[in-house]
Amino acid sequence: MLDLAAALSSAMALVTSLDPQMLVIVRLSVLVSGSAVLLAAVIGLPLGALLALSDFPGRGALVVAINACMGLPPVVVGLVVYLLLSRAGPLGEFGLLFTPSAMVAAQTVLVLPIVAALSRQVVADLWEEYGEQLRSLGASRPAVVATLLWDGRFSLLTAILAGFGRASAEVGAVMIVGGNINGVTRTMTTAIALETSKGDLALALGLGIILIGLVTAVNAAVFLLGHVARRRMG
């Protein structure tokens, strides 16, 4: 119990002092996971919708594959991205290894299946409900995709938040491709792992409390936004 109290007070101290080193870490965490989620949404939402609306041979297998990829182990994704970006790898010439860009790439791979799989389900359900109607109106494929994505926006927001949760919580991938370099690629989760390995459990847990607070704040903001939007639009 003493440890928990020490963790809480170290979290409070970090927050109230606005420690500049911690701000750098928090900022990087938000930027990396935020960018990864944004990229995954831009690709994943239309991809999920198209998968829900199209029929082609092998579609079932593709759906199963994407659903399965929701459980990709972060450390394996990190390893694959590392091998691609390593100077001895195929993309080595760009010098991206151990940079925030590499971390965004790895997290996008982790988040994309979640956004795509969940939005496929959302759009498929909506299509079942409104398909007849849209077909009778003679709507084109892109128009149908846009209409259904807009219609399902509140459910899709939850899918995106699930992706954000995955990205902000993982440590295996960013540790490998980022290298946990102080001031450059150190995020909340890699900092927590580092402090744990130094045996400074109070500081590690303190950082953990801040991370949980941060994720809660993001979710609360999205919830409020959705609430206000729903009211305005009736």
Partner: protein, 270 residues
């Protein structure tokens, strides 16, 4: 309230000018033992003030650090496994290996010392006693410099840990800190480098039970990654670092690094 949130948000996004300012940098693959002791926090600002070069440290086990060098993902290495370092240079992955500093390993274990290790005349004898009493021993098991040294000591003690089964000899496959956390949790013996041990906070009942033996000597070497092997190696700036570290200024800086008044690394560049 809203205003305060906005101020904090604005601070967050202006907080890291140093990241964009790091245009001239090299990547150093080094070991958790040097990083977690706080040595780099002491050395790098001095080096940067003098040369304007940022050193980005990726702290991993020596085995993985050598691998990063092999693949050209680091510009220089600071590691501690003489045999592995010589092989790395002999195979053409690295050039100009130089002695930098040394410290030593310590054997830590529960205060109650169930294997009666305290007072053993040598570390090999200490390890023999641990094996004979089947007292739990936490091994790094991660092909790091410390792990490789530990295996050498077992060999000199005449104990075959591969045949020990899973009972008392526990391979954790993790870094120095996590291994100490686990050892503290299960009252096990472990081999640790003095630097990590000195900075380690979660000791619980662990104390040093054996130290000072010659075979606990732990020398560190600086190696340049061979720029002929990969495109993009920052050879010129890496040489500046390599020479500074092994030159008078770097050596003095190493000697000046202390935790609680105790010097942790001893410069020995010739």
């Amino acid at each position: 309230m809203l205003k305060r949130i906005m101020i904090v948000a604005a601070m967050l996004f202006c907080a890291a000018p140093q990241v964009s300012a790091q245009e001239r940098f090299i990547t150093l693959a080094s070991t958790t033992s040097t990083d977690q002791s706080g040595l780099f926090g002491h050395l790098l600002p001095m080096f940067r003030a003098e040369t304007g070069i940022w050193v980005r440290v990726v702290a991993v086990g020596t085995g993985q650090a050598l691998k990063l060098g092999e693949r050209g993902d680091a510009d220089a290495l600071l590691v501690h496994d003489r045999a592995g370092e010589d092989k790395f240079v002999a195979e053409g992955f690295g050039i100009d290996r130089r002695d930098v500093m040394y410290n030593d390993f310590v054997v830590v274990g529960p205060k109650a010392d169930p294997a009666g290790v305290k007072g053993a005349p040598s570390v090999a004898e200490a390890f023999k006693r641990i094996a004979a009493t089947k007292a739990p021993f936490a091994s790094r098991g991660d092909d790091s410099g410390t792990h490789r040294s530990e295996l050498r000591i077992w060999k000199s003690a005449g104990v075959d840990v591969k045949a020990a089964g899973s009972g008392w000899y526990r391979e954790l496959g993790s870094g120095m800190g996590p291994t100490l956390n686990t050892a503290a949790g299960m009252n096990a013996y472990a081999l640790a480098d003095r630097g990590t041990w000195a900075g380690f906070k979660n000791r619980q009942s662990l104390v040093i039970v054996s130290e000072g033996d010659r075979s606990l000597f732990n020398p560190y070497g600086s190696i340049l990654v061979n720029p002929a092997r990969h495109a993009g190696i920052k050879a010129a700036d890496a040489v500046v670092w390599h020479r500074w570290l092994t030159g008078p200024k770097g050596q003095a800086a190493i000697a000046g690094f202390k935790i609680d008044g105790e010097q942790l690394f001893f410069p020995d560049s010739k």
